[in-house]
């Protein structure tokens, strides 16, 4: 980037800031429609049962109830989003059966004139359950003798990939290390509970759904299929969203589907909202993994072989049973250069609440294993942990063995260098501060995270750029902004490409009737994949403008350039026309022309460039209580180009807070299929007074395929924290915990056994 950028790279104010800060912004639960009904779900009290008989007559005769729908009429949705490729694939996502597969699995839904009546009506529905033997442990579920949760068995998906020959590779190793790691069921805990959908099925057969789904176009297609409608008859409108983090990546179990069916039955709009307890107990959570990691290294610290065996607990249904496991594989294999690698993975159903997409989608799990192990290797070989990473990570020019994708931008070295310097890594490593019962230690980790889902899921992006008569622009995109600010960032990219000021661009809301096909907001893809099409669309609009100016000025388009609102002949600058003049002429004044100057772009991104990152953590461990406190954290992320640096910083610090929670304080506690900690007292998020000192460093490696060099950042920021913390704890007190979350009880137990 030689030329000076005027909008990209600036921390401009996000478009929705004013509405949000004044309370004007409407989120799902703030919306009301005339003649609206309120819906509630009846949920199974059993982890595994057949709802043999569902008698809704009493509920239906409640004076304020208008409709009841059961799982015999409305399908449950299973299967991977990746299966939405064909119509048959989509049909296979529908499940009509009367089996409930986790405590909280919906069995019926009621729509009533008010919420209280809907709640009352639920207790009037008589369900005769035939309990089936449940299985809660994925390793148990893998056994031949385990009860079958789905007709096809308990394995939702499995994958095996091998490159080179791991057995040979292990024979070449000087040192082999084998460990098992387990991770927890983290909950998104968006402050707006995962809830609220309003479905309005009109008499004209059009279904309009207000949903905060991260993938409006995808759920549009699915709902059309489920209701037997052509896709044009479904419209998804996205209101403001109070956080998603992957939990709204697709449909919410029981929500949009049941709501739509209730609306069709009643002919009235229906709104359903979940309580915070329902959010904890019955909406998607991060997949727990059991990972067996075997690594072989030479005594110089070069990896010779890596074998990963992963069992992923899917819960009762697997909307992301394929995606998350494959992404764990992709990122696990790609991070380090190793001629012999093997990944064997199983997605396994259990009778617990369903799991789904969650920020970094399989990568935090595999990273915890890899980076804990690398730390052990570094210690064994007496190599600086940073050096070990530098020696082995896959960098510039290297290919992802699974997809063949080339790494075209590499910020890893800079991330490691800058973060370790800011942290004071070398200095802190030589000092082991011990005061009273407190012991300090330091640890680090690195990571890479694929931007977007180019090679694993349907990943189209689209954008439309429309000129107004005065030269200002409207950008139309279906990007679903859940708080990350992607609408603003995409507008910055468009404005920069068009050479217009920030004041001169606006972005549309997300409405599938109007905003073209886009895979949505997930996989850290909008700045990258969305940015690419936005830049293209802007270029197309510019081209159309220049083409029209060329005709008007009678100058070949190649000779024309735009600067400061003027289109001029570069060979003869006096020949020119102001942008707003030509636009006014084309769009308004000349009665014989009258057209919209517009640019459209659509397609997939060419790559999924790795976002590199590094985390350096200092912890303090109390050897009497086992308590851990994160004292300081320095981290760096290579985003390619920070389109909006303040947004990037916000993502980094917010992501790290989630990462620290993943390491130390969070995780659903499930006993016999029941979630025991369904509230914020027993499921602890970090609060403002819990945050350590965080240094967030932005690295820009300039990704050539990205708009102005940009990749992404959203997910990477919580993918590496857990290992860094586990490594720091080991440094402080010599205790190695391979299970998340790392609890104080566990640390104390290990400390005692060390004595």
């Amino acid at each position: 980037m030689k030329s000076e950028l005027s909008v990209v790279g600036k921390s401009v104010t996000r478009f929705d800031a004013f509405d949000k800060v004044t309370g004007k912004a409407k989120y799902g639960i703030d919306l009301k429609m005339d003649n609206m009904l309120y819906a509630k779900l009846l949920r199974s009290p059993y982890p595994h049962a057949k709802a043999v008989k569902i008698d809704t007559t009493k509920a239906e005769s409640h004076p304020r109830v208008r409709a009841v729908v059961t799982i015999n009429e409305a399908p449950k949705v299973i299967g991977a989003v990746a299966m939405l490729m064909t119509e048959e694939g989509m049909k296979s996502l529908d499940m009509f059966d009367n089996v409930v597969r986790f405590i909280g699995d919906p069995v019926a839904a009621v729509a009533a004139e008010d919420e209280e009546s809907a709640e009352e009506a639920l207790s009037l529905i008589d369900v005769e359950y035939k309990q089936l033997p449940p299985v809660f442990d994925p390793l148990e579920a893998l056994k031949e003798t385990a009860p079958k949760i789905h007709k096809s068995g308990n394995i939702a998906f499995n994958v095996l990939k091998e490159f080179g020959n791991v057995d040979k590779g292990f024979r070449k190793a000087d040192y082999i290390l084998e460990n098992r790691y387990t991770t927890s069921k983290q909950k998104h805990c968006a402050i707006e509970p995962f809830s609220t959908c309003i479905a309005n099925y009109g008499l004209d057969g059009r279904l309009t759904v207000y949903s905060s789904s991260q993938r409006p176009h995808i759920i549009k297609r699915y709902l059309a299929g489920a209701l037997g409608l052509p896709v044009n008859k479904v419209r998804i409108i996205k209101p403001h969203t109070g956080g998603a983090f992957g939990g709204r990546d697709y449909l919410i179990h029981g929500l949009e589907v049941m709501c739509s069916f209730l609306s069709r039955k009643t002919g009235r709009p229906v709104r359903m909202s979940f309580t915070r307890e329902e959010d904890f107990e019955a909406t998607e959570a991060r997949h727990p993994f059991i990972i067996e990691l075997k690594t072989g290294v030479t005594k110089e610290g070069i990896l010779t072989a890596m074998s990963i065996k992963a069992v992923m607990d899917v819960g009762g249904y697997g909307p992301h049973a394929v995606g998350v496991l494959v992404n764990a594989m992709n990122n696990g294999i790609r991070l380090y250069r190793c001629p012999n690698q093997r990944f064997e993975g199983y997605s396994v159903y259990t009778n617990t609440s369903l799991c789904g997409a969650y920020r970094a989608y399989g990568n935090p799990q595999i990273n915890f294993a890899l980076e804990s192990q690398m730390d052990m290797i570094a210690e064994k070989l007496g190599i600086d942990p940073v050096e070990l990473r530098l020696k082995n990570y896959r960098g510039l020019g290297e290919l992802d063995p699974i997809t063949g994708d080339e790494t075209r931008s590499d910020g890893m070295k800079e991330c490691l260098r800058k973060a370790s310097k800011k942290f004071g890594w070398n200095d802190k490593r030589t000092k082991r501060i011990a005061e009273g019962t407190k012991r300090r230690g330091v640890g680090m980790s690195c990571l890479s995270h694929n931007t977007g889902g180019r090679f694993s899921i349907p990943d189209p992006a689209s954008a439309i750029v429309m000129f107004n008569t005065d030269g200002s622009v409207n950008l139309v995109t279906a990007a679903a902004d859940d708080g990350q600010g992607n609408k603003t960032v995409l507008a910055q990219i468009a404005a920069e490409e068009l050479g217009i000021g920030w004041e001169q661009i606006s972005v549309s809301d997300t409405d599938t009737d109007v905003t073209p096909l886009d895979s949505g907001t997930h996989g850290s893809r909008q700045t990258y994949a969305g940015g690419i099409v936005v830049k293209k669309a802007a270029a197309e609009a510019k081209k159309a403008l220049i083409s029209a100016a060329s005709e008007h000025l009678n100058v070949k388009p190649e000779r024309l350039s735009i600067k400061d609102g003027v289109i001029y002949d570069t060979k003869n600058p006096a020949t020119s026309i102001r942008v707003n003049n030509i636009l006014r002429m084309l769009q308004y004044e000349d009665l014989s022309i009258g057209k919209q100057i517009i640019g459209v772009a659509t397609g997939v991104a060419p790559s999924w460039p790795p976002i590199h990152g590094a985390n350096f953590v200092e912890v303090e461990v109390d050897i009497e209580t086992g308590e851990v406190r994160v004292v300081k954290l320095a981290c760096a992320f290579d985003v390619g180009k920070a389109i909006n640096p303040a947004h990037v910083e916000g993502q980094i610090i917010g992501g790290e807070a989630t990462g620290i929670g993943y390491a130390l304080t969070e995780g659903l506690i499930v006993k016999d299929g029941k979630v025991l900690n369904n509230n914020f007292t027993d499921y602890r998020l970090l609060r403002a007074c819990d945050m350590p000192e965080i240094d967030a460093i932005i690295v820009e490696s300039n990704e050539p395929t990205g708009a102005f060099g940009a990749k992404g950042v959203g997910e990477a920021t919580n993918a590496g924290t857990a290992a860094a913390i586990a490594n720091a704890i080991y440094d402080a007190v010599g205790v190695r915990v391979k299970e998340l979350p790392i609890t104080q009880e566990r640390i104390l137990k290990e400390l005692h056994s060390l004595k």
């Binding site: 104010t13 929705d16 800060v21 004044t22 309370g23 509970p193 915070r276 998020l685 609060r687 403002a688």
Partner: protein, 161 residues
């Protein structure tokens, strides 16, 4: 259903309402007065999304019965701005990019307002403690805290003038 008449002042405007005894102030604000800026996050006082100011104090409206608010002055996020002029806290949040999804923002700002009204020069530690009841999953609290400290400065400057 047993109802009672209450008189409350919300954002400087007086209302006479019929409320149930069990109705929370949060419900009244959102569903009876259409002031949806104050949010529902948990209903148990743990997340702070429902924070408003009553007689100048930061109060959780989901843990306040409407009847308890009878005769009191309530300030919600909608009442913070002065016509088209934003309150210094709101301006600072916008300026510092302290808003992401924005769902916790009204509660955080109302908690901050109550703090700054009684402690015009808080330390960072005091600000973070004052936000102890306000959960945020997006920002990691860093920019909101910076915004509050800057707003405090601005407000002190205005006062000194």
């Amino acid at each position: 259903m047993a109802k009672v008449k209450i008189g409350i002042s919300v954002n400087g405007k007086c209302y006479e309402l019929d409320v149930e005894f069990y109705e929370t102030l949060l419900n009244v604000l959102r569903n009876k007065l259409g002031l949806t800026g104050t949010k529902f996050g948990c209903g148990k006082g743990e997340c702070g999304a429902c924070t408003v100011n009553i007689n100048g104090e930061a109060i959780l409206s989901c843990l306040t019965l409407a009847v308890q608010a009878d005769g009191k002055e309530i300030l919600t996020i909608e009442g913070l701005q002065n016509g088209t002029k934003l309150h210094p806290l709101q301006e600072a949040f916008v300026k510092h990019s302290a808003i992401q999804c924005g769902y916790c923002t009204p509660g955080v700002i109302m908690a901050a307002k109550a703090l700054l009204d009684c402690d015009p020069k808080p330390s960072e530690e005091t600000v973070r403690k004052a936000l102890a009841n306000n959960l945020c999953r997006c920002t990691g609290y860093d920019k909101p805290v910076k915004a509050i400290l800057e707003a405090a400065k601005t407000m002190r400057g205005k006062h000194e003038k």
